[in-house]
Assembly symmetry: C2
Homo-oligomer: 385 residues x 2
Amino acid sequence: MDEALPPTRFDSLETPCLLLDADRMQANIVRLRSRLARLGVHLRPHLKTAKSIEVARVVTEGGTGPITVSTLKEAEYFVSHGFKDILYAVGITPNKLDHVFDLRRRGADLTILLDNLDSAKAVAAAARAAGDRLPVLIEIDCDGHRWGVQPGDTGRLVAIGRVLQDGGSALAGVMTHAGSSYDCRDEPSLVAVAEAERAAAVRAAEALRAAGLPCPAVSVGSTPTAFAARDLAGVTEVRAGVFVFFDLVMAGIGVCALDDVALSVLATVLGHQRDKGWIIVDAGWMAMSRDRGTARQPLDQGYGLVCDADGRPYADLIMIDANQEHGILAVRPGSAASCPDLPVGSSVRILPNHACATGAQHDRYHVVRGGDRHVHAVWQRFNGW
Amino acid sequence: MDEALPPTRFDSLETPCLLLDADRMQANIVRLRSRLARLGVHLRPHLKTAKSIEVARVVTEGGTGPITVSTLKEAEYFVSHGFKDILYAVGITPNKLDHVFDLRRRGADLTILLDNLDSAKAVAAAARAAGDRLPVLIEIDCDGHRWGVQPGDTGRLVAIGRVLQDGGSALAGVMTHAGSSYDCRDEPSLVAVAEAERAAAVRAAEALRAAGLPCPAVSVGSTPTAFAARDLAGVTEVRAGVFVFFDLVMAGIGVCALDDVALSVLATVLGHQRDKGWIIVDAGWMAMSRDRGTARQPLDQGYGLVCDADGRPYADLIMIDANQEHGILAVRPGSAASCPDLPVGSSVRILPNHACATGAQHDRYHVVRGGDRHVHAVWQRFNGW
């Protein structure tokens, strides 16, 4: 997997390709791990962002879990690399249960997720039939963002918990995800969302325990709240994924600096429309993804922020539009910055809006360390289901 | 590649997965081929949409070209399957020329593209050094959409043509792409854009010929203009890609009906937020792509239009929002339609905004024929560079 290379110069690479700055990644991981250690909770990194064994080994410090995944393909892959303690953090559907039991028979300590009584009944019955006390978390809705049981809906919560615990599976706890943290614009609102996330999970856990049900795991997390939480009393673990790489959306929220963003797309200038101030490169939306997450933020970064080949941002130079394999670079509308002179053949690095989305457009990471314009290794990643 | 199967029932598939209705695809291909035959021009299908040898064989009627590609990886793949006459229709960068010459040494009749004198000089010099009269098209800008030489800029056009033809490569002709056709809202504007596309390419070709240069190929195309053009006098070939599958953007433009859309994502209901009228499914933006192409159209389809498992659209039921692996289905805002009752475990098919973008999120097609809820074959596709 880790194809170690004699350092390869950028100018011998075919573009577009995905660069991963391993030094920045390492620093990002240390930063969150240190923070959570101070708060006394474990990290259960979400590997949906990286989908790579090399990244998984760095983020788990060479361990084999605990981890979070978003697909059973990720679970398969990490089980095949020796990981055991895996949370599949997307609501289960009946057509995936055979696969779940199969993974568990092969040694995975796989936990699943649901939020409703119909699913709980189906899961408990399947667990009973399989003779496997499958552990299940109940998802709690802390911010109206997606789904989950309302933390104050004790009746529904206890009913689901009892079906799971008494019906053949095992109630393993509760989890919640403050997706609304992505809409925060300042530190006080981030701190408030993090506390609401914690409080919702802890309240639900207490309601289950008060009803005589077990609730060992109290799992919370998103990258913004993981960095904003002031207190995690009652929480047992934090999930976060995008912090490994960071991206422009996270920088826009204020959770990281531009210099922390470890992922970029290397592209080459192929032409110009000089009267319009456009530079055309060979990375379009297929290489950047269609994610426009910064469009809702005060500073819209288009399809990405353009840096030189050493990773230094050009002032206000962004990808203003994209075709499938062409990107149009121009100075941000309203900026007084001048467009750099980048002749045909010039290399640029483009920072992505959303690391999960841009990463998924590529099948490997070209590993760089700082700005020496060399690739030191190639790490495979996978996609799909 | 073509993994023929005993027909597999939908309910035994793990979701999300990509469905391809082969009957609809076949009808779409016949429709465009018949149209172009009447207009007396060849089709050079763009395989960036499908990236699959099985689809390529259907669209080329079992032939081995001519085809268009958007990456050298596509060129590699189709060369390995016996295709020869290939146009790489993205502006060339110097770091790809070694690969281009290598493909040609291996038997590919590969043509490349550029729009500027610097690139022309670099290409001609490389061709001379390689002893290979590499054929090159000059891209013409017919609508200010991306890049290309202005059709009336005879000085620049002839200068590029002369460098190419006299410097070591071969001037193979001109090409243009009316990307602005995607913004059309009615038939008269589509017809006008198609005529402007034709006229720009023919005008440039005539200017080159008047200067004593060859211009054998006059290549135009986009799916909307391919269906709108009333006359293609002077044009030698039409490129189009998305017509093979069609999608909601094309339906919004009026180029196809919803019943022509051959691609859909099969998903499973995993829960509800009943007080909000939300149905939660296991296909999010990772399965649909982040493409929101219909957001600019009169009828915004969200992340996709929801159909039942047989492919019949529910009235105004769309994916209003998406997380990475969760989609939120709801009735379109303002609609009086009622939300269907879809219990946990129900299957839905979701039509995509943009076939190129949604296809690229998947590594295979599950081939269906009409609405019998069975998969008849699995066709691999590839992505990346």
